[in-house]
Homo-oligomer: 469 residues x 2
């Protein structure tokens, strides 16, 4: 029996459990410069899967990828006053390049909002150029004094979408489309995270936005993690960067813009949304390795059977890894469990003699003795079941840990172990300030049926309240 003793348990010390998983699953290391991060191959493979799934959805939504420069003139940050306030203490500034001091310092992008605004203004002439739908995959820098791998790092990887439209309605509808068809859909159907969706309160809104849509996941310690945001920027950015178009009657009008992003934070969210005391649990649809074929012993006939099983599963569209049976079996099992590989296929001489192998699910540890001639279909079936089970278990856990409350005091109490749900109009500005004093916040505001409203002024809205990362 494998021992999970390598990891701190979640109930003992959740932050330390997190650190242990990141280290022992070989996902990331701290970089040499404060707050930076080295993403190791297994962590990066997870990010590549996240990227691939999100990128496909972004393309279906009609946005095109482009790439804007890392360096932005410092003067750009003075143009959009509200925006710059949100970022200035976090900026890293290059003052020296090409062997001399620069006449104007350049900022390492904390986001590309400003430079993209500048180029949208250049590229957009008439209503025929709209909507302009751009997305960028890039690194950004926001100096962090209290870094945590994946969750808060001075440099992180993300995608940032930026779009320009000819009407408020079109911009709002597009932000909602990205929110639901890219982010919510990816989270629910690939990452198996049943996020609460909604809009940010005016206090929590992105600087410069007129409305911010958010997906909030519940972590296993009962805290919230913001998984994605989609902002309606109204005409604020268009005004600051002079993004205008000629309408059909030849008059000049300001565009309506949006921006939306998700980052390597999602890797941290993946760890904390599903992981257990044995390590990471990766949903099959996201897993870079869906099944690991483990030779119980390093013997020729076992290895031969493993290679043949591997080939058959790959042909069946399963991503596999092969463990060639060197070293302790228990230790190897523990290592694959820490990495959260969905299915472990144990291949030993006794099983082989009986024409079977044993498949073990990572989520519930259930063992399945499978005839060799039903390998591929059983494997795919178990992966699909596990995908559904992870979502359902996370949904039940989320709902169990969400308490309906009627006062701010009750909300604060509920937020010590989970989420609180409360009528939005009963919280008010004062209530929100009281929550914030004790490090609790309104994560999102939603309709009573759990859908995303178009504005915080709709009637009968509820607020989801929690502590957060």
């Amino acid at each position: 029996m494998a021992s999970p003793s390598a990891l701190t348990s979640q109930s003992d010390d959740f932050p330390r459990w997190y650190q242990d998983v990141v280290a022992k699953a070989e996902m990331a290391d701290n970089g040499p410069v404060r707050g930076t991060m080295v993403i190791r191959p297994y962590g990066y493979a997870l990010w590549e899967r996240i990227q691939a799934e999100m990128d496909a959805r972004i393309k279906v939504a009609g946005a095109q990828n482009a790439y804007f420069p890392l360096f932005i003139p410092q003067s750009y940050f003075a143009r959009e006053a509200e925006h710059v306030e949100g970022f200035s203490p976090e900026l890293a500034v290059v003052t020296y390049a090409g062997g001399e001091e620069l006449a104007e310092p350049v900022v390492v992008r904390p986001t590309s909002e400003t430079v993209i605004g500048e180029f949208m203004a250049k590229w957009i002439q008439s209503y025929r150029d709209l909507p302009l739908l751009l997305n960028q995959w890039a690194n950004v820098v926001r100096w962090e004094l209290r870094p945590r791998l994946f969750l808060r790092s001075s440099e992180f990887l993300w995608q940032e979408g930026h779009t320009a439209h000819d009407s408020y309605e079109d911009a709002a509808a597009y932000a909602m489309r990205i929110h639901l068809e890219v982010y919510y859909d990816f989270l629910a159907n690939v990452m198996a995270v049943p996020a609460y969706v909604g809009i940010k309160s005016p206090r929590e809104r992105f600087a410069g936005a007129i409305n911010s849509l958010t997906c909030e996941g519940m972590m296993r310690d009962g805290k919230a993690l913001q998984m994605s945001t989609s902002h309606e920027l109204g005409q604020n950015f268009a005004r600051a960067f002079n993004i205008v178009y000629q309408n059909e009657s030849g008059q000049s009008e300001l565009c309506h813009t949006t921006s939306w992003g998700a980052s390597t934070r999602l890797v941290g969210g993946l760890i904390m949304a599903h992981g257990d005391d044995r390590g990471l649990i990766v949903p099959p649809r996201l897993a870079p390795i869906q099944a690991v074929i483990i030779a119980v012993r390093d013997e020729p006939e076992v290895l031969e059977a493993c290679a043949s099983i591997d080939a058959r599963l790959r042909d069946g569209g399963v991503s596999t890894a092969l463990d060639r049976g060197r070293g302790s079996f228990g230790r190897r099992v523990t290592d694959w469990e820490i990495k959260g590989v969905p299915l472990r296929i144990e291949v030993g001489p006794r099983d082989l003699a009986g024409g079977v192998v044993t498949m073990v699910r990572r989520d519930d540890g259930s063992k399945h003795v499978v005839a060799l001639d039903r390998l591929a279909t059983t494997c795919q079936g178990l992966l699909e079941e596990q995908q559904r089970a992870l979502f359902n278990v996370a949904l039940a856990r989320r709902d169990d840990a969400t308490t309906d409350v009627t006062s701010v005091d009750e909300a604060i109490e509920a937020a010590q172990t989970g989420f609180a749900r409360m009528a939005w109009d009963q919280i008010g500005e004062l209530g929100e300030a009281r929550l914030n004093e004790v490090a609790v916040s309104v994560r999102c505001i939603q309709r009573a049926d759990g859908t995303t409203p178009v504005s915080p002024d709709e009637p009968d809205l509820v607020a989801i309240v929690a502590k957060s990362y």
Copy 2:
């Protein structure tokens, strides 16, 4: 008939033709900070295709992707003296971050060699950890005083592979494998560029390398462009970064390392290797859009036919774009030609009445009247023919423009319009210095049969000599 008048002709002014193509095909713009580049959606789509094809080959070669930090402590650049000399005037340095001056300035990576060396030293313990095969897709910064979009920019995108091995032989074999199976194969079979392969002369070698393998493409102005390099670093980097392993007898030994890279420069190479006076020519296997379906007129039955053709081609695995027939037909044809889309499918009412459409190849302008029921197979056939033709035409052009010479003077003369080939041992150090005085250089040294030698000391080697970008 479409007029290519929008572009400067290659024979009039090649550099200006290049600039025109980059601008008119909407590939890139200059960024606001000197030397930086905005890669527009069409340029980025080409880079995404390059990435996808190279990444697949890199993974087949067993390397794993990872991500290392953008910021590197300045002190790291003092460790490998030869290496730092190659870069210091090009460095951009962050001196101010998080609202205050930094105690130690940090360098924006010009390459990740040093930080990857540091972490290899940490991760490698024993011979069982070798080979360690890493690759990274990232942006890097080398300050450019004379920037040119895609060819030389202060920030560019690239992949950099870094590997550690337990013997010289294994490291050299891996560098050769990447050189041939990743770079040469991609260039020949996807980008349709018949690169000259070989090794760099000691004078042209990468600082710190003991051997550098290179792929050199011929551009349409007869100059060379270095498309990729793969370096054997011997034990130099391992010594500088203390990358050691315990061998099977328990003794500590230095690793042998390699590094290899290719960048967004390849997009510039694509333009200049195939482009003509009508614009870009993209080989079908690389093209983000392989066929554009052009409605000759904006009429319901034409658009309906276009949509149905589009659906059938997509089902047949062809990447398509739909041109809905607004504005001048000639102008639209010119625009698609500038973008280099391999196949243009013209759909007009007269053709439709006859049950046919007209397909036009971008490379030779040949027109093919195709029955609607043979659409998908003909389209695929024409794409495959064009892929082969582009390679063969480029190969013939390369061979025609390569002159066998027997003196340095002749080599200099031949290099004014193309490449020279000359016995390597007849050039010598003095000859190479004379070439360099007139901006001509030894691009690579190869065997007489055109294959890559393992060292410049092999007998009977020939040098490929040219002007270069």
